[in-house]
């Protein structure tokens, strides 16, 4: 399997006033691969996502997406169009479901654009033309497919807010997948999951990667997830990229260990368990707890 480049980030910089949240980062994500972005709290991971998905306009740099042999410049596309044009879907660090709508409705709203097209400015829909009905059936089928995958079929008509936390995280992933993305950006999908749910999530993501042949960008603090499933890890610290490679390479990288542990502990850590300690400076408790 020779990986096909999907997203090329070149010299991405994002400043907020004087604060440089992302500092001259370059990396490439490939189709059919899971690329993890890790780093201590405040390293700038979510900011990278916000630039990719059009919520922030980068201060500098180029974000190129290879789609159907074409190269699209993300920073030139209006935010809400990025899903449709470039095929980048995302989830949020703090779950953002449509809480007052049902699970199924959440997945149907994600297919707004094709459905809107089929409803011809709602006219075909208002008249109930077969063309629209067929499109709606197809949308429900797609939703049902992902519901089966995340194991929520029997709760399809529940309010999203009524789901337990882990199910909400999975639903948000399914909702992003319902847009039919080429690149799926997940912001800490395993946060708050118990070990069993976290293992299920690993299976889901690996399955999606292999079956859909899409690229996945994964921000994660839970090292069991990161090391378990990613093909490729990028480490950020204070907005800068400090490492980039396979999980094994990254876990042995002294820069990374230093970033995660602070200077003093390098010696012990390098000898004992180079990976377990990958805990953020401030986020140490969280990462440790999840990995333990």
């Amino acid at each position: 399997m020779s990986p096909v480049p999907l997203l090329a980030v070149e010299n991405l910089t994002m400043c907020f006033g004087g604060l440089v949240a992302v500092d001259n980062i370059s990396f490439t994500a490939y189709r059919g691969e899971i690329t993890a972005i890790i780093g201590p709290n405040g390293a700038g991971k979510t900011t990278v996502f916000n630039c990719l998905t059009g919520f922030y306009r980068p201060s500098a740099g180029r974000l190129a997406v290879h789609k159907d042999g074409e190269i699209l410049q993300l920073e030139r596309i209006e935010g809400f169009r990025i899903v449709r044009r470039a095929g980048i879907a995302r989830t949020f660090q703090n779950i953002r479901l449509f809480a007052g709508m049902t699970v199924l409705e959440n997945l149907i709203v994600a297919q707004h654009n094709p459905l809107m097209k089929a409803s011809v400015f709602s006219l075909a829909g208002l008249l109930g033309l077969p063309r629209y009905r067929a499109a709606e059936r197809a949308a429900v089928e797609r939703a049902r497919h992902w519901l089966d995958r995340i194991g929520l079929t029997d709760r399809a008509d529940w309010l999203a807010a009524a789901l337990p936390y882990g199910a909400q995280r999975r639903l948000e992933i399914a909702r992003a997948l319902c847009t039919g993305p080429a690149l799926l950006c997940l912001d800490e999908p395993a946060a708050g999951l118990n070990p069993r749910e976290s293992a299920e999530l690993n299976d889901l993501l690996l399955g999606v990667r292999d079956e859909e042949q899409i690229g996945i960008l994964l921000i994660e603090h839970d090292m069991s997830v990161v090391m378990g499933i990613s093909d490729h890890v990028i480490v950020l610290d204070y907005g800068r990229k400090i490492a980039d490679g396979t999980p094994a390479e990254v876990r042995a990288d002294p820069e990374v260990i230093k970033a995660y542990l602070g200077e003093d502990e390098i010696d012990n850590a390098a000898e004992e368990a180079p990976l377990r300690p990958l805990a953020g400076r401030e986020g140490g408790a969280r990462a440790n707890g999840a990995a333990a």
């Binding site: 953002r96 707004h112 459905l115 709602s122 829909g125």
Partner: protein, 436 residues
Amino acid sequence: MTAAAGLAVDSAAKPPAFWVPFLKDAVLAALVAVLLALPLVGLQTYDIGGGALGIRTHFDWVAIGGAAVFAGRLALRVLQQLYRTRPTGRARVLISIAAWGNRQALPITLLGIGFAVALPFLPFSSRYLIDLGTTVLIYVMLGWGLNVVVGLAGLLDLGYVAFYAVGAYTFGLLARDLDFTFWEALPFSGLVAASFGVVLGFPVLRLRGDYLAIVTLGFGEIIRIVLLNWAPVTGGPNGIGGIPRPSFFGLHFARSAPEGVATFHQFFGLEFSPDHRVIFLYFVILAMALLTNAFTLRIRQLPIGRAWEALREDEVACRALGINPTTVKLSAFAIGAMFGGFAGCFFATRQGFISPESFTFIESATILAIVVLGGMGSQLGVVLAAVLLVSLPEFGRAFAEFRMLIFGAAMVGVMVWRPRGLIAHREPTLRLGSSR
């Protein structure tokens, strides 16, 4: 044996009967009352004569006071207790009524429509009642229109009356200057109001919640003030009169019509009655309201309607899913405004006269109250709330000056007991099992 021991332990640990603490509490209260009353009420000084004071005792009063406090306190506690235990029972009844209502939504709706259609022909019906029904239906229609903006799209609009006014004045001006009839003007009223909806929508695209409410409130006032001051066109405070009444497929509701124009009563060979027009107006607004409802129910199940609700739930997530918040918001404003415009057009033809006075902020507030009271997004709730809000003050006329007070108290009550509105239930727009 163990069971017996368990029983014994249980009965020993059992809390005293519920009235024991009440009794204790009442006795304590009575004691305090007696202690306080003894010097204050029990002993009284009086003038014996010659400037000297004597003391008179009134222990009977003290006893009466103590007994009253005891009884009162006990009654209060018992009432509190009853009140605390009742709601479970009452809530259960309410819940089962609501569940029944959901299951029977279609029969209830049909029954309601049947009643509305039959109202003018019922034995107790009167011209006054039909007039009242027409007013209620105007508010139902306005409520359903505003429900699109507030209930579905979650955009708090305090200036909705502006679109009502725009619709009414569109017809007023078209009738005065271009001799349009009601039916010819109706689509224009809707269109012009919808354009005003878009015009309002643009500057407030980035606003939400309170900020949006303030700007829309300002918009409503601007429209009214323009109508008031642009006298050459709008007639200023004098408004526009002589607005034509609607015709029934070209048949007029008049005692006698000019040459070549048929009247309703002649055509159908009926005795002339002014009630015909009143009843006709009632059916016109009934049809308009029902169309509004059908349209809203249908569009809720379309992508655009779901996008409105999604926008209400989370705008950021909408953007991340490729939904353009601008068009979604503008379409909600436009469609809500369009229904306001239709209702305004009807209002103008019903009154025959319009002036800025009919379009004050209190109207916006009433319509919003109907939507909020009914339960945001609930079509049936809007009907209930409109009936309550419009007809209760009418029936309350007997209380004259207490009318508004009772009305206000009723509203506070509803918001306390049913904070999410009379009907808080939201029907999903589609279900996995029953999707067509």
